[in-house]
Point group: C2
Chain length 422, copies 2
Amino acid sequence: MNLYRVAILSIGNEVLSGDTLNTNAAWIAARCTASGAQVVEQRTVPDSVDAIVTTLRELRARCELVITTGGLGPTHDDCTVAALLELFGDHLVLDEPTLKRLEAYAAERGRQMTDRLRSQAMIPSTARVLPNPIGSAPGLFIEGRDDAAAIMVLPGVPREMELIMEQSGIPLLTRALVQRGSDILAERVLLTGGIPESVLADRIEPFRQQLPPEVELAFLPSALTVRLRLRAMGPASTVQSLLDDAVALLTPAIGPALLSDRDERLVEVLQREFCQRGKTLTVAESCTGGMLGAEITSVPGSSAYFLGGLICYADSVKIHFGGVQAETLARHGAVSQQTVEELASYIRAVYGSDYAVAISGIAGPGGGSSDKPVGTVWIAVADQHQCHAQRYSFGSDRHQNRVRACAAAMLMLIERLRAIDG
Amino acid sequence: MNLYRVAILSIGNEVLSGDTLNTNAAWIAARCTASGAQVVEQRTVPDSVDAIVTTLRELRARCELVITTGGLGPTHDDCTVAALLELFGDHLVLDEPTLKRLEAYAAERGRQMTDRLRSQAMIPSTARVLPNPIGSAPGLFIEGRDDAAAIMVLPGVPREMELIMEQSGIPLLTRALVQRGSDILAERVLLTGGIPESVLADRIEPFRQQLPPEVELAFLPSALTVRLRLRAMGPASTVQSLLDDAVALLTPAIGPALLSDRDERLVEVLQREFCQRGKTLTVAESCTGGMLGAEITSVPGSSAYFLGGLICYADSVKIHFGGVQAETLARHGAVSQQTVEELASYIRAVYGSDYAVAISGIAGPGGGSSDKPVGTVWIAVADQHQCHAQRYSFGSDRHQNRVRACAAAMLMLIERLRAIDG
């Protein structure tokens, strides 16, 4: 296999000390992997010329491209450019287009053009600029040689790094891969829900064995869903049809647990299912406290089906605004089939939506009992004709219990929609 | 300064390819830094004996301790132990206490004691076990020599890694630091809110200059809040009082923007302020769709002050359940002072809480106009006597706009509570 190897070097004391989570390295690695490159190493070093020079020397001998992030700003901490000058015995030159862009950048923000800002237009003579559309520090690119990798230098601010990569970095990488005739990596994702990873694995095992060896299958589980990721590496002319065949092989084996044949979030599937049918939704949330509404409205366009609903954290709110009988609470408790059924039916009828979902549970850490331990959650879905409730037993972690309750509610809704409204 | 240098080595193809965000490295780095050790490098390498051996050789020459995560499981991918054997020319021995623990582990889960599980009790003869209280793979520790660092070997599952570190790893590290007479790092955090980082920096600049050189001040901004972090490195006998003096110096300069002298979340301050005064809260959320309620109820004990409220995403819900006049919407629009004031006043009165907060805004990407561009958010806080509204102009990112709206609402509530209820 003809590999194009990439190393990722993160520069910055704040990453090294653990103050900042290194999301940049994962983002770059995922994009490089998806482009067909092989990430062979990631490193983080301090804002130190010596550390950067030493590390660049080591990494350049091990790969075709080193991508660095961080240390490009205008303050005394930032020493990535100084390290490049030392590594190459190079000097700074003024880059006129960058200077023009910085002048416009300052003018837009009503700022003076300071020496400090102007210094960002000085770049190593061996480098060329990868323009930064939203920030002051430009990206840089230095060509590789036979015995030493190319270097792509990016700022550490995630959004700036991402835009430079999208606009300049990934196209450069793709061109390099094509020039080398490297194999490409193709990927398909199947989103499944409501079926444990081990059951899913058993169900598709006989079909998995029929997959050609070039196709790699991975199970990526998250709250109540599992992503099946199919990857194939090979010549561009053949990998796509390999994956199409693999998807066609696995789809019948997955059955109704298949939620989507795209790599998308559960809430995006929910939105599409509702919008396709022109149906509307309301919610009544107790232990999730608004988390399901927040998840639903995180997707642009959610107003096409989501009307809103009730956060009924206190029992008084359940009774006075959620249609729950005081007697129901007294007899069965707030976390019960009766309570969520009364909530879902009432909210649906009164708010006038096609569907309503109600969630009530014991998120923890307190509030559990032997009957209803922490992690017990009741969820009901009401439509025009009926109301269907289900009990779940999640774990002991408050956050995980709330996240799973939201996922379970979305899965129940999708299932009802598909069953009733075809 | 007497430094104890640590390198962190993450092992795993899934981290390298960007499928998994490397939260382990940040967690370990933060804990090591807080203990007074200096993290000098972080690396990620593939599940490959060669790569692990080469990297361990390089790193052991540069520090006093290498901490590895990942590659400890029982499958063919996992090769960290094989790498240790090769590095030290070592062989495996059976660790009886681990075998006993694994037998109990299998019994608890109703599983057979398989060869695969038993293999987890075989450890390198030079290593000692750091027990894993919740998983099957034990941690390992290999003492350092004068010319080569000690190695601490941890599983990649975050919760297992964290528990082994808490129970065994950090105590080992602390003992090593004490034995060397290393300086310790002490830290204090002041949480400020409602004041931009640059204004805060200007306000405290004269005081910052009076700080002793051992005290390092950092500004850590997030949505509408800034954490001021004070760190001092030095002998255990003196650093704490250095920081006490620094806090006493800065506190008056920060003034009312000081929310807390502990490192806590804004929502935790909100909960304490409400609970101390015995007051209750309800919400009416439009553009945030439940996100504020979800944030509030993420903290255990929130039921002591939070009753719930309304998710009024659709205008019909604002009118029929939020007390907004149809005429108000027609004349001023859903994102207006009038709408949020009507919402907050109505919800407070009808739900019977001491305070209510209402949020309505244009989160984006669609829905903006020249009058009310994306990022425009109105927030109102109502109490028994009055209702106070404020307009905010955030940015263009939907998620950030919603997060900032929630932070702004919490800041307004804290300000009103402190002003009215002392």
